[in-house]
């Protein structure tokens, strides 16, 4: 299996165990998800023909923009999915958004809980949460907001949402940060890279120094925005405006199309774990050659592919557009491949058809 270096307490599964569940999950999805079944049949793969989970066809993340990839015995009439998460798109254009239907939210919650706890709260049971990510009430179609909501449900003894549904700062956002810095209890700050950048640039507000043992989770890159900063600058930015030490900042990697997440376990392993994401044992990770889809040798860059058993209700095997490398079972992500848009004076016809064509 791709990932063998799980975080403590989430011990790696034996290959055979993962294989068994993966095969069962594939059987379920093959039976219930029509577009996926046709795709697999076209490739000559059926549940009975597969002996290795790596042979199970992966759907590209782009496919979530064009197909309802749902694997549920319930029809939309008898039972609506618990959630429908949409990809964020970009601020640069009218890009089509992907949708991930989640028939049962409970599986998302189960997959989220322990990896999050071990990555961010290995030493405390409850903590005050300050979120720079909108609440799930404000952004019900954001998988990230749902995740933060689950974190609050499970681990927060107090929560402040500093970003409103429209993406603007709450009126008292900076008062909250200032007040928290005057307390003794540590704080968990959750935010996207862009939110932390905005925090730094937010007018004349002075930086704060949050109490000792405070920690931050940062997620996401700068996809589709016109500004971007490097990784070390991002971490300096977080430290500058919150006072949280570099070794207390945990990077989280997740995507709308997956219900499982990966974290850099710097809180338990120290700074040497930076840029080395650990996956839970139910998330198979591979790095592939984009042209041949063969596994890249250890340490070599390729396209990242996941087999997420928590994706039971959609499709588990997902091929991303992100480049990365695997070493000792830990994943380093280099980012999204640029250039998926036309680059000359030509414009994608479909972009325009969405506005007025007959489809």
């Amino acid at each position: 299996m791709g990932v063998s270096g799980g975080v403590d307490g989430l011990e790696p599964w034996k290959e055979k165990a993962f294989q068994g569940v993966a095969q069962e999950v594939f059987g379920w999805q093959f039976e219930l998800c029509d577009p996926y079944r046709s795709f697999c049949e076209r490739r000559g793969v059926t549940p009975s023909s597969v002996s290795d989970w790596r042979e199970i066809p992966a759907v590209p993340t782009t496919a979530f923009k064009y197909f309802d990839l749902v694997s549920s015995p319930y029809t939309s009439i008898s039972r609506k999915p618990d959630a429908a998460f949409y990809t964020s798109g970009t601020t640069l254009g009218s890009e089509r958004r992907g949708c991930h239907f989640v028939p049962r939210e409970s599986l998302y919650r189960a997959a989220f809980h322990e990896p999050f706890r071990q990555a961010l709260l290995p030493d405390v049971n409850k903590i005050r949460v300050i979120s720079l990510i909108p609440s799930p009430v404000a952004a019900s179609h954001s998988s990230l907001s749902w995740m933060v909501g689950m974190a609050v449900d499970a681990f927060a003894d107090e929560v402040d949402w500093l970003i409103q549904a429209n993406g603007e700062w709450a009126r008292d956002a900076f008062d909250v940060l200032r007040a928290a810095s005057e307390e003794e209890a540590p704080v968990l700050v959750l935010g996207t890279a862009l939110a932390f950048l905005h925090l730094k640039e937010a007018g004349d507000e002075p930086s704060v120094t949050l109490p000792a043992n405070s920690r931050a989770m940062v997620t996401g890159g700068f996809k589709g925005v016109r500004r971007a900063i490097g990784r070390s600058e991002l971490y300096s930015t977080i430290t500058d405006c919150t006072g949280i030490d570099r070794n207390m900042i945990v990077n989280e990697y997740g995507m709308t199309e997956l219900l499982s997440q990966m974290y850099e376990p710097v809180l338990t392993e120290g700074i040497k774990a930076a840029r080395r994401l650990a996956a839970p044992p139910w998330l198979g990770v591979r790095v592939l050659d984009p042209a041949t889809l063969e596994d890249k040798p250890e340490g070599e860059q390729g396209i990242i592919s996941f087999f997420d058993l928590a994706n039971l209700g959609s499709v588990s095997h997902v091929l991303t557009e992100d480049l990365g490398a695997l070493e000792d079972g830990r994943l380093t992500v280099f980012g999204r491949v640029p250039g998926s848009e036309p680059r000359g004076c030509s414009r994608a016809m479909d972009d325009l058809m969405a506005g007025g064509g007959r489809l």
Binding site: G339, C345, S346
Partner: protein, 446 residues
């Protein structure tokens, strides 16, 4: 090669002052003489023995992300419009008497009414023109430079990221050939998408601004200029192809080759490249068979004009191609499309039963859609027609004009056989307007 910003805030203002100082000099030069100098510089890019061409061919592939073979074809095609003969034709097509650009000319009598007074007229170019281009189609910046100087407008040009080399080489060679003309042009690069402040400073004080780019870029620059500024927009467009049933007979290899070349030129990044081919039903050759012919042509072209040279870019493209092809394969499994592709080569041909929304296919890609009648295509495309630029055609001679009227009324501005699709002549009506007349104002003495 990565392109770095070479313009700084503050510096652009000085550059524009210097440019404006060049205006009296170029105003005093006859336009035919200016065209002659520009043509002589332009012809160097077609001369195999000229160092200028060799330098261009050396630098173009990595900058424009084209193979050296395709870069040469692209340079030849673009430079054909930069000769003395082409520029002379351009002037004559735009102005019955090019001397209109040199001073007052007694106008032609208007209509048959002899009682109307006949004024003297002249055409006046901008006092300062700023041309902002984008993208990676090489040669657009040189065209912009030539057009500006033909109307005697001192010009600041920001080329597209993939078009800096040619624009700069032309400007430098012009300076060597004719200092006075050369001093009327400045080429500066910055990222139009990222550095709005530089764009804002660049267009300040210009009385003509030309923008080539996405609809978003055009809108953003349009909001920066005052009402008194002439604003010319070449927004994003796309090309389509139409094939009549009468052409679907006999050997299809020749037509398939023409279509494949139109697709592959500029790696399908140009608005002159067809993205979709509408093919009429009930020809002797079925659409699926025609798709195979085109696929075979694209496969052959992959050797004649290989795609990219930089492995890094090829890798990136293969990631995106993998995403898109696999997504279309799901569509194919459902029976609504059929797809042929080149595997490691970047060509893809998709035949659709219905006009579907599909992810954008990078590389040399073409979609084929069967239609009952080509006359139905404009209504099928709806408002998207407003973004059509070129319509490549293979139809019977007696259908061309009627179809051109239909497509023209829907928004297209160029209807052309496939083998002429890639390189319009210098005097073409670019996006429906005269490239020089769009830049000038008129003065009449009554």
């Amino acid at each position: 090669m990565s392109v770095n910003r070479d313009a700084e805030l503050g510096q652009l203002s000085e550059t524009k002052v210097v440019l404006q100082q060049a205006r009296p000099g170029i105003l005093s030069r006859p336009v035919t003489e200016i065209a002659d100098v520009l043509g002589r510089v332009g012809e160097r890019f077609s001369d195999p023995g000229d160092q200028l061409r060799r330098t261009a061919l050396d630098k173009l592939p990595s900058e424009a992300k084209l193979s050296s073979e395709l870069a040469e074809v692209v340079l030849d095609g673009m430079a054909a419009g930069w000769t003395r003969e082409s520029l002379s034709k351009l002037l004559k097509n735009e102005f019955a008497d090019p001397a209109l650009l040199d001073g007052l000319v007694r106008d032609q009598q208007r209509g048959n009414d002899r009682s109307l007074s006949v004024p003297s007229v002249m055409a006046v170019g901008p006092t300062l023109c700023v041309q902002i281009s984008s993208g990676s189609v090489p040669g657009v910046g040189v065209n912009a430079l030539i057009r500006s100087l033909l109307v005697k407008a001192p010009t600041l040009i920001k080329p597209g990221a993939g078009d800096v080399v040619l624009t700069r080489l032309f400007a430098e060679a012009l300076r060597d050939a004719d200092t006075e003309l050369g001093s009327a042009v400045a080429v500066c690069y910055w990222s139009g998408e990222e550095d709005h402040e530089l764009t804002r400073q660049a267009v300040a004080g210009a009385d003509a601004v030309v923008v080539y780019g996405s609809d978003e870029s055009v809108l953003s620059v349009r909001g920066m200029v005052p009402a008194s500024c002439r604003f010319i927009a070449y927004h994003h467009r796309f090309g389509v192809g139409i094939v009549g049933r009468e052409k679907l007979k006999g050997s299809m290899t020749h037509l398939a080759n023409q279509v494949a070349r139109a697709v592959a030129m500029f790696e399908n990044r140009g608005c002159v490249c067809p993205q979709i081919l509408f093919v009429e039903r009930n020809g002797d050759v079925k659409v699926e068979a025609f798709a195979h012919f085109i696929a075979e042509s694209l496969e052959r072209l992959a050797s004649e004009w290989p795609s990219h040279v930089e492995p890094e870019f090829a890798d990136q493209e293969s990631v995106v191609l993998r995403q898109v092809r696999d997504t279309i394969e799901i569509q194919q499994a459902a029976g609504s499309v059929s797809m042929l592709h080149g595997g490691l080569e970047n060509w893809t041909v998709v035949s659709e039963l219905d006009l579907l929304q599909l992810p954008f296919l990078p590389g040399r890609s073409l979609r084929l859609r069967t239609v009952e009648n080509l006359e139905d295509v404009p209504s099928l495309l709806g408002e998207a027609c407003r973004h059509i630029q070129s319509v490549g055609y293979a139809v019977a001679e007696d259908r061309v004009n009627d179809l051109a009227v239909l497509f023209g009324r829907a928004g297209a501005s160029r209807v052309v056989p496939f083998d002429g699709m890639s390189f319009p002549p210098a005097w073409w009506l670019h996006d429906g307007q005269g490239p020089l007349r769009a830049l000038v104002g008129w003065v009449e003495v009554q």
